[in-house]
């Protein structure tokens, strides 16, 4: 699964990285299974308790100790200068990470005087903070983006002739670039040949000739080169616009198919739910909300994996593939831990008991409020951002 999905184009050399990633993924999944078992009451409660504890220990260990260390190690080994003292530098990086991690806990009201420093509660609380922030950001953005992407109301009308016109412009720009480069190449070649001829002429006349003929050639060259740079920038922009238009056109076609219509309907449904969630804080029916939250979490995890793979394609290169895998593992682990914390919020009261028991005394209300705040902020800012982007695009096309 891992190799196929994420690494279609690049190899992963180090098996350690693969192992770490799979461990993180496996334990996250078992956490979710445990929650489901909770609700269904499948296994006996003592064994469930034991499994919870074990799971939590391992995940925390991996998330906090192993992964950042390896990330530091690989980042440092990418910087060629520091290769000799890799271990030393990666330890340094890891200590700074732990320091910031600790500092993160201070402004929040989560320290309680009863517990020691390395207790589970402290670690979970900090991981929880980071994870909750991440989740809120992502779900806020997703809540707004999802209806935007799927609802055909927002899709601008793109015709084939628009795309053809843009493509023609792109090709014309490329032709202009080519002809300018030809001039540069020819001029350079002639200068080179003239330079060779001049080397044969020695003495006074040779020097004067070189002085008079060279400046005009090189001035011309630098002028053309500047034009070429500007044209190349233009060609890049045109290319990106064409890609954009093609993508929109494909989305329109997709929305006409049956699958598209199904997603469209889901989009409407989710948009209503998300809007409702933005503006209201209290749920009036716990069971319905639990099911809905379950669905949202599943789709958001799926969306997260898809987004992460897209992001991964966009920035991958053979050097940094190790780092990216580790970063993915880290994010995923934190995401899962915090989603466990948050699911507690929406679970009916009778199931909360065991979760509370395992995780010890944490200020859960704080997390809920923090999540809502961040969710609101990110949703509003992404609405603003998308609105601006939407407004800008029609203006761009009107100048064509």
């Amino acid at each position: 699964f891992f190799m196929r999905q994420l690494f279609k184009d690049y190899e992963v050399r180090q098996y350690v990285v693969q192992v770490v990633f799979s461990i993180t993924f496996a334990f996250s999944c078992t956490m979710f299974e445990l929650i489901i078992f909770e609700i269904l009451g499948a296994l006996s409660s003592t064994s469930r308790y034991f499994h919870w504890k074990l799971n939590l220990y391992v995940i925390l260990l991996v998330l906090i100790f192993v992964v950042p260390f390896y990330i530091g190690y690989f980042v440092v080994s990418n910087i060629r200068l520091l290769q000799r003292q890799r271990l030393l530098f990666s330890c340094v990086v890891w200590f700074t990470f732990m320091y910031f991690f600790w500092k993160l806990g201070d402004p929040f009201p989560i320290l309680s005087p009863k517990h020691g420093i390395l207790s589970i509660e402290q670690l979970i609380s900090r991981v929880g903070v980071i994870g909750v922030t991440l989740m809120a950001l992502l779900s806020g953005f997703g809540a707004v983006n999802c209806p935007y992407t799927y609802m055909s109301y927002f899709l601008r009308n793109v015709t084939d002739s628009d795309i053809l016109a843009l493509e023609r412009r792109l090709l014309q720009t490329m032709d202009m670039i080519v002809s300018k480069k030809k001039r540069i190449a020819m001029t350079r070649r002639q200068m080179y040949q003239r330079g060779e001829d001049q080397n044969k002429q020695t003495g006074f006349w040779g020097m004067i000739k070189s002085v008079t003929s060279a400046p005009s050639g090189s001035e011309n060259l630098s002028l053309i080169q500047q034009e070429v740079v500007a044209l190349e920038e233009l060609s890049r922009q045109l290319f990106l616009e064409t890609v954009d238009l093609q993508a929109t056109k494909e989305r329109i076609e997709y929305s006409k198919t049956f699958q598209g219509k199904y997603f469209n309907f889901l989009g409407y449904f989710f948009s209503i739910y998300c809007v409702w969630k933005i503006f209201m804080v209290k749920f009036w029916s716990q069971h319905i909300s639990f099911i809905l939250v379950g669905i949202i979490i599943v789709t958001s995890i799926r969306g997260l994996l898809i987004t992460l793979t897209k992001f991964f394609y966009a920035i991958s290169s053979s050097k940094s593939s190790n780092v990216i895998v580790l970063v993915l593992a880290q994010i995923m682990g934190m995401y899962f831990v915090s989603s466990v914390l948050l699911m507690r919020m929406s679970m009916p009261l009778e199931y909360r008991s065991i979760v509370t028991e395992v995780l010890g005394e944490l200020q859960f209300n704080f997390y809920h409020r923090w999540f809502d705040v961040i969710f609101l902020v990110s949703a509003l800012s992404s609405i603003l951002f998308l609105y601006l982007a939407h407004k800008q695009a029609p203006e761009k096309h009107m100048t064509l």
Binding site: L170, M174, I177, K181, R183, E232, L238, F239, T242, A247
Partner: protein
Amino acid sequence: MASLDRVKVLVLGDSGVGKSSLVHLVCQNQVLGNPSWTVGCSVDVRVHDYKEGTPEEKTYYIELWDVGGSVGSASSVKSTRAVFYNSVNGIILVHDLTNKKSSQNLYRWSMEALNKDSSPTGVIVSNGDYDREQFAENPIPLLIIGTKYDQIPENKRSDVLTRTAFLSEDFNAEEINLDSTNPRYFAAGSSNAVKLSRFFDKVIEKRYFTRDPSQLTGFTDRKRFNFKSLHYD
């Protein structure tokens, strides 16, 4: 000055294999100082003397179109890229010697370029799988270049070279293995420079000196011609 004849050569390959550095090295005889990710397509021009040293020597412009992106891109990117594949006279396939996947992807790259070139309606006729016959009779000359040769440790070099030899046999093409940051590889008179020069000559010949219309069309037309010849038999 711009009145010389021109020939268009595509430079294809995965992201980060070193196409832009390669093109820069070939055209400017200088090493590219700050390689950055290519968006869209970047073109460079090399002035090439066809049949250098013979009385039939003629100078041509060779345009090297360096197209960025990866085979796994979204279909919107692919269809935009197809714009650059029109009327191509030669293809240089670039892969990274330290990365096996990039050599495997070369099959897909060549499929993408060659299929788009021959069908005006944009419909891909073959089922996308690699078909050796097509490459054997391919009218467009191919050249395979492996980069980052210097990054392979000494003991693994022979394995890598055998692998690339198989690759070039599959494509029925020549191959060159080099390091794009070292101008020595293309120094005048070196075997790499000779191979490159021969490739360019082949491209120019195919374009300007073989006036056989049935040879200049792509795969789909070849299938049609075969069917026609069967019919007349």
